[in-house]
């Protein structure tokens, strides 16, 4: 009898672990929100758009002071110029993005035609390519200006990542991004989740680790460490290097799928980019 009970318990444990590993996106999101609600009691979900400053009260004071004279302001202005200045063929970004410039909430999304996750930087470059313009680099430089302008104009819109059920590739891309997020990599054997879920709020050297929830709402970000505004994929690159893993190509499949998963977690949260960070 005891054996049967033990076997049943083992089966239940195995089944519950299996069900979460293959949970649907909404279950994943709720499970992670529940984790943070338990870890940081009393912090409303809407606060996570402020990243680490949702719970780092000392750091928040300096951050709020910085935000009074935002270091990304110049990038927004330059981005507006880019948006308005016609390409050599006379067309503008508005021809590619008729609903623009407040379009950040539409990205990333599953592009059915190209059967891949489409991110905003990639869409910007596809627009430029279609209009005979030089492609922008994906980590540093002027791409951040136009992204900063679009992010600024999109403030207040809500993250709304859709994983269409009639496109199996979309769910596969989401699952791929999720696997990336939970996979330990590099010489230090850390996963994204090790820092940004399990140890969110703990210190790593002098820094307080930020929560995965809300990570994507405030990009592009001016980082004091960079002395410039940088893209989300630049940040992914930095994180991978910090755990001593070889980073992947910005806007390559791995990082786009990771962005798809990570942004989905923030569904319903307000966009508040561009942001500033240490």
């Amino acid at each position: 009898m005891k054996k049967i009970i033990s076997l049943l318990i083992l089966m239940v444990i195995a089944l519950s672990a299996l069900s979460i590993a293959h949970a649907d996106p909404e279950q994943d999101r709720k499970s992670i929100i529940k984790f943070f609600e338990t870890r940081f009691v009393g912090i409303p979900l809407s606060e996570y758009v402020n990243g680490v400053y949702a719970y780092d009260t000392i750091g928040r004071e300096s951050w709020e002071a910085i935000e009074e004279f935002p270091p990304y302001e110049i990038a927004i202005e330059k981005g507006q110029d880019m948006w308005e200045k016609p390409f050599a063929n006379g067309k503008t970004y508005t021809d590619c993005f008729p609903d623009g410039p407040a379009i950040a909430q539409k990205y990333p999304h599953w592009d059915k035609k190209q059967a891949m996750v489409m991110t905003l930087p990639l869409a910007i470059n596809q627009c430029r390519e279609a209009n005979g313009e030089k492609l922008l680099k994906y980590k540093k430089g002027s791409i951040n200006n136009i992204l900063a302008y679009i992010a600024f104009e999109s403030r207040g819109k809500k993250t709304h990542v859709v994983i269409p059920k009639d496109a199996p590739g979309a769910l596969a891309a989401y699952e791929d991004g999720k696997k990336f997020f939970f996979t330990r990599r590099g010489q230090l054997n850390f996963s994204c989740a090790t820092c940004h879920i399990q140890n969110a709020g703990n210190r790593i050297r002098s820094d307080n680790l930020s929560p995965a929830l809300g990570h994507t709402t405030h990009f592009p970000v001016y980082r004091s460490k960079w002395g410039a505004v940088g893209t989300l994929h630049r940040r992914f690159t930095g994180c991978n290097k910090q755990v001593r893993a070889k980073p992947f190509k910005a806007q390559g499949e791995q990082y786009r799928n990771l962005e798809y998963f990570l942004t989905y977690l923030s569904n319903g949260l307000e966009l508040n980019g561009p942001g500033s960070r240490k």
Binding site: S16, F182, I197
Partner: protein, 104 residues
Amino acid sequence: MKLVIKLVLIAILGMSSASILAAVSEKDAGIAIAAAEAERKKAASVDSEWRDTGKIIKKAQEAMNKGNYEKALKLANRAEHQGVYGYEQAMSQKDLKMPSYLIH
């Protein structure tokens, strides 16, 4: 007298081991670098290459070009281990397992 014999023997042993260490050839270093590169590629094929593996191989190559085969061998061996561990790391997580702190 016995002490003198002992000292002579120790000296001979020391010299012979030193000559063994110095006997790393260009061929040995080249083989080690090729092995390291193969392991690096294997780890990269499963998206699990470590940050410094390629850089270490490059340094090993540079050491070999300068004729420092011993250093080249040492670096190549380190890079090879990184490649092996990187691949094993990915294989051990082939199937996604959610961490226990998320299982309610």
